[in-house]
């Protein structure tokens, strides 16, 4: 069963802004990172999956249920943590999460039990009886996560879950998400504009940019060797690049680094010889690993988008 299946999904807002542009994609259960810069369409996609927004054209299915016709059924199986503030300030986390459990259709005794359970899971203890207005951002984010988990969803949709957190809080939140996903078997789709977070937590990545699909693949495939050699020299990288280019290599200069497309084992020897000939101080030679940032960069030599 697929977690999410999109077919030509398009969303145009009144006023002509196209947030999603013909997105076609199938995602299997797991911890899925949804990455893209601000305004790439991440939140729009999540809201369409939840039925909070209607698509302009195309179709989307969550857990094999159609978003357009089976929204209610989807929403019973899905938890949602929005990006923005969404907590009333004058009631306690316990009362709020309990209320949200009832809104998901849990009976009252179960709602209380689950509330205690998830608040403990997210690490909220004595504070949970205090009004939420006095909470720190970190505590608020925990409550937001808890209300999305309280009905034990099959899929959790997180929109920028680390928004506004300091580095320590960020680490804790990411740990929590990772544990929720890997230990308890709840599928997660997590939107973030920070690649580092996605890299840390997710096992599958969907990258979108300007509403179009950039890349969707298991995370491992993004960080394999790229077939490029990084040659770092102290001075005159341009000279080395010119020489290597003259030798027929595809080369690009990036600061003090010269990126050379590897043609075989002899490339290493060749580079070494040229460095010696030019009398350059060599700092580093290393096969380049792809980083997720490359997704959003199209000028890396020899690594045309797959």
């Amino acid at each position: 069963m697929s977690l999410v299946a999109l077919e030509g999904l398009t969303k145009r807002y009144p006023g002509g802004v196209t947030a999603l542009d013909g997105l076609t994609l199938t995602v299997d259960p797991g911890i899925v990172g949804l990455v893209g810069s601000n305004g790439a369409g991440k939140s729009t996609l999540i809201k369409i999956l939840l039925g909070l927004l209607d698509a302009s054209s195309g179709s989307a299915a969550v857990l094999n249920l159609d978003v357009a016709t089976q929204g209610l059924a989807i929403r019973q199986l899905v938890g949602y943590m929005p990006e923005h503030d969404c907590l009333p300030s004058d009631i306690s986390a316990t009362d709020f999460v309990n209320h949200m459990a009832r809104m998901s259709g849990l009976p009252s005794a179960s709602a209380r039990e689950r509330t205690a359970e998830v608040l403990r899971h997210v690490g909220l203890f004595e504070e949970r009886y205090r009004p939420m207005g006095g909470y720190s951002t970190g505590m608020k984010q925990r409550v937001k996560l808890a209300q999305g988990l309280v009905h034990d969803p099959r899929l959790l949709l997180l929109d920028e879950p680390t928004n506004g957190l300091d580095p320590a809080g960020r680490d804790e939140m990411l740990d929590l998400i990772e544990r929720t996903g890997s230990d308890f078997g709840i599928a997660i789709i997590m939107a973030s504009h920070l690649l580092g977070e996605i890299e840390r937590v997710c096992d599958y990545l969907v990258a979108i940019d300007a509403g179009r699909l950039l890349q969707a693949a298991a995370l491992g495939t993004f960080t394999q060797h790229t077939g490029t050699l990084i040659v770092e020299v102290d001075e005159r990288p341009a000279d080395l690049a010119a020489q290597l280019e003259a030798d027929g290599y595809t080369v690009r200069v990036d600061g003090s680094q010269v990126l050379v497309v590897i043609r075989g084992d002899e490339t290493y020897d060749h580079v070494r010889d040229r460095v010696i000939e030019l009398d350059l101080a060599l700092t580093r030679v290393e096969p380049r690993r792809a980083s997720l940032e490359d997704l959003f960069r199209d000028d890396v030599p020899g690594e045309e988008a797959a």
Binding site: K47, L50, G51, L52, L53, L72, R75, Q76, V78, Y80, P82, H84, D85, C86, L87, P88, S89, D90, I91, D95, H99, M100, R102, M103, S104, G105, L106, P107, S108, S110, R114, E117, V118, H121, Q147, H151, D152, R179, T180, D183, F184
Partner: protein, 314 residues
């Protein structure tokens, strides 16, 4: 320590267990949409009376109910006194007939309190979730947007019904107990009860839906409160002027533009009593016209309310 730890994952080799309860899934029943709507309605009703909230949020609603029951309590007190000291049943009956507080006059006496209750509590029920941005959490759950609006509206309606019917109930109990014997009392008073219930329901429906529609339009509590008070207390002034100008049927129909006057007309019509409100008396419309107007106000309000929640961006 031979039994498996509940959801425990870490177990040492020495036969002892570390009880890490961890996270457990939920296997129990999911009651779905209907139960969620019912829970929201109940929650709304409780919130309207400040239950489960701070003591401060109880002051306004509970105070208004107490105030609304005051005339009925006084009336019952007077009837009791007369029943004790009057020389004859006939004299007591005469005093009873003179009492200004009757089933048909309870609403005219307490109307302002009903309006104030709606102005104070509807913004709390409809504006809060907009102000705190909580609506996406509701709309991403087992309920639809319309479910939310209807459940909130019905919660407000029932809260208003309590306020409207509490004085009628006191009057009813008082009059039954004062009667020479309970059976006679019940025989006299019971026939009045259905009318009181129907009128009470119509009042709660019109006031509740109108206040809900206005409150839903803005997250700002103060604006909503002022607007609700205004809609119940300002059109009557214009209606009074237009009706007293005596410019024909359109002048008379102006009374229907004032929800407060419409409710007065409904109250007088269904109790078959003289309207307390001078504008309503002067307009001289047939009683059923007020019923139609009440239906129109309700329908219009509900349309505004539901459309607002359909369109509210989340």
């Amino acid at each position: 320590m031979t039994s498996a730890p509940l959801g425990g994952r870490q177990r040492s080799d020495h036969g002892s267990s570390i009880y890490d309860l961890g996270y457990r899934g939920y296997e129990g029943p999911r009651l779905g949409r209907r139960a969620a709507v019912a829970a929201l309605l109940r929650h709304t009703l409780r919130t309207a009376y400040g239950l489960g909230r701070s003591a401060r949020s109880k002051i306004m609603p509970v105070g208004l109910v107490l105030l609304a029951t005051l005339p009925a309590l006084l009336a019952v007190g007077v009837i009791v006194l007369f029943a004790q000291f009057a020389q004859s049943d006939a004299a007591a009956g005469a005093a009873d007939a003179l009492s200004p507080v009757r089933y048909s006059t309870v609403f005219p006496f307490t109307a302002v309190l009903v309006f104030l209750f709606s102005a104070a509590q509807a913004p709390e029920l409809f504006g809060r979730d907009q102000l705190a941005n909580t609506l996406p959490l509701y709309f991403s759950r087992a309920i639809s947007r319309s479910d939310y609006a209807v459940a909130r509206m019905l919660g407000l309606l029932i809260a208003l019904l309590v306020l409207v019917l509490a004085p009628q109930l006191i009057l009813f109990i008082g009059r039954v107990l004062v009667a020479p014997d309970v059976m006679t009392g019940l025989g006299d008073e019971l026939p009045q009860l259905p009318t009181a219930l129907i009128v009470g329901f119509i009042i709660a429906l019109v006031v509740g839906s109108l206040a809900a529609a206005i409150a839903a339009l803005t997250p700002r509590r103060a604006y909503a409160t002022v607007a609700i008070v205004a809609v119940f207390l300002i059109p009557n002034v214009f209606a009074a002027i237009l009706v007293s100008l005596d410019i024909g049927v359109f002048g008379q129909l102006a009374v229907l533009l004032s929800p407060a006057d419409v409710l007065d007309g409904v109250n007088a019509f269904l109790f078959d009593a003289r309207a307390e409100n001078i504008t309503v008396r002067r307009a001289g419309l047939d009683g059923w016209v007020y019923l139609l107007a009440a239906a129109a106000w309700t329908a219009g309000s509900l349309i505004v309310l539901l459309r607002r929640y359909q369109r509210l961006a989340t």
